[in-house]
């Protein structure tokens, strides 16, 4: 009964902190994903003396109301080969589980961040100069029936060409309305990102830069590694009560 009593107290206290239960993340502290450097920066900034007088219910870094900033990680999978027309394309499903937001929370911002890690260019690549790849981002609006063309259930959101860079490059896009629609059960079909090689590139030259794929030395050109996360800012109105004067 002591343990029950303690659990009850803990649940009540966590409830007042806006947590329905004690989080139990998988894995050990050392195997979990690293904390995004941007979140560390925001945390350190919030600990500074100046921040003590700032409003904890406004996220100044994004200029929106909110007291919870989540880096929701991508749970999608590589689905290369979907598009029969482009075998060399890197096609990845992106899926962000926004049901982690509690119903009471008001979504203020959902910003998609895609980081592209380019493999250092080989001399041959340099000779010919870095050639752009094209990236297209689409939202999936319904499940794809077996045998149907998956592209029929997509709507293009963004299409741009990307040049290899020495530093990881980030593509950011505000998906707040779409993320709000994902909060309705059964409405989250995720996104699809497609990276297509430069036109005229010889597919034989291309090998996707995938985890576990060591740097193929004889390779002159590689598609970048992609990391995606959804930065979600929300406000719990129970924790952001206006100050009684």
């Amino acid at each position: 009964s002591d343990a029950e009593d303690r659990n009850t107290r803990e649940r009540l206290f966590l409830g007042s902190l806006g947590l329905s239960e004690r989080p139990q993340p998988a894995g050990s502290r050392h195997t979990r994903r690293p904390v995004p450097s941007e979140l560390w920066r925001m945390f350190r900034r919030s600990e500074s003396i100046q921040a003590r007088d700032s409003d904890p219910c406004t996220v100044s870094e994004y200029g929106v109301r909110g007291n919870i900033i989540r880096y929701v990680q991508d749970q999608g999978r590589l689905v290369s080969g979907w598009s029969s027309s482009c075998q060399a394309c890197l096609v990845k499903q992106l899926f962000f589980n926004v049901s982690v937001l509690q119903p009471v929370e008001l979504l203020s911002l959902a910003q998609l961040e895609i980081r592209l890690h380019w493999k250092p260019l080989r001399p041959a690549g340099l000779l010919r100069g870095p050639r752009a790849v094209s990236m297209s981002l689409s939202k999936v609006i319904r499940a794809t029936l077996r045998g149907a063309d998956p592209r029929a259930s997509r709507r293009l959101l963004l299409s741009q060409s990307l040049r290899p860079q020495l530093e990881p490059a980030a593509v950011a896009m505000d998906l707040t309305p779409l993320a709000e629609s994902w909060r309705k059960p059964g409405h989250n079909y995720g996104l699809v990102v497609e990276l297509s090689p430069p036109p005229g590139a010889d597919p034989e030259e291309l090998t996707p830069f995938l985890p576990g794929n060591a740097f193929p030395l004889e390779e002159a050109w590689t598609l970048p590694l992609m990391e995606a996360s959804l930065v979600v800012v929300s406000l719990n109105p129970h924790q952001c009560r206006s100050r009684q004067r």
């Binding site: 004690r22 993340p25 994903r33 904390v35 007291n67 900033i69 989540r70 982690v100």
Partner: protein, 115 residues
Amino acid sequence: RSAVHLPVTPSNICKARRLYIDFKDVGWQDWIIAPPGYMANYCHGECPFPLSESLNGTNHAILQTLVHSLDPQGTPQPCCVPIRLSPISMLYYDNNDNVVLRHYQDMVVDECGCR
């Protein structure tokens, strides 16, 4: 008629007391990334008549200490409560291994007063 001055030792006066919350003590260290704990403090102590300015009393509290000094059984002293609080932020992993930064209002007692 003459006001009764109860002897109050300084340590009994209303003020913030140190209270450090160590998240490891409550077994939260496996999901909270930072901080490891924090200084929450709490208010405790007397609000005696006359209420000195350092006790940050409202006019009503001053009145209440006066009445208490005249009728200690009938009217209690004002309460020693937080009057200035600060937020804290917590970095933690949620059930989906997402990293979450959360700001909480009014989690640190900076100053106490009689109300």
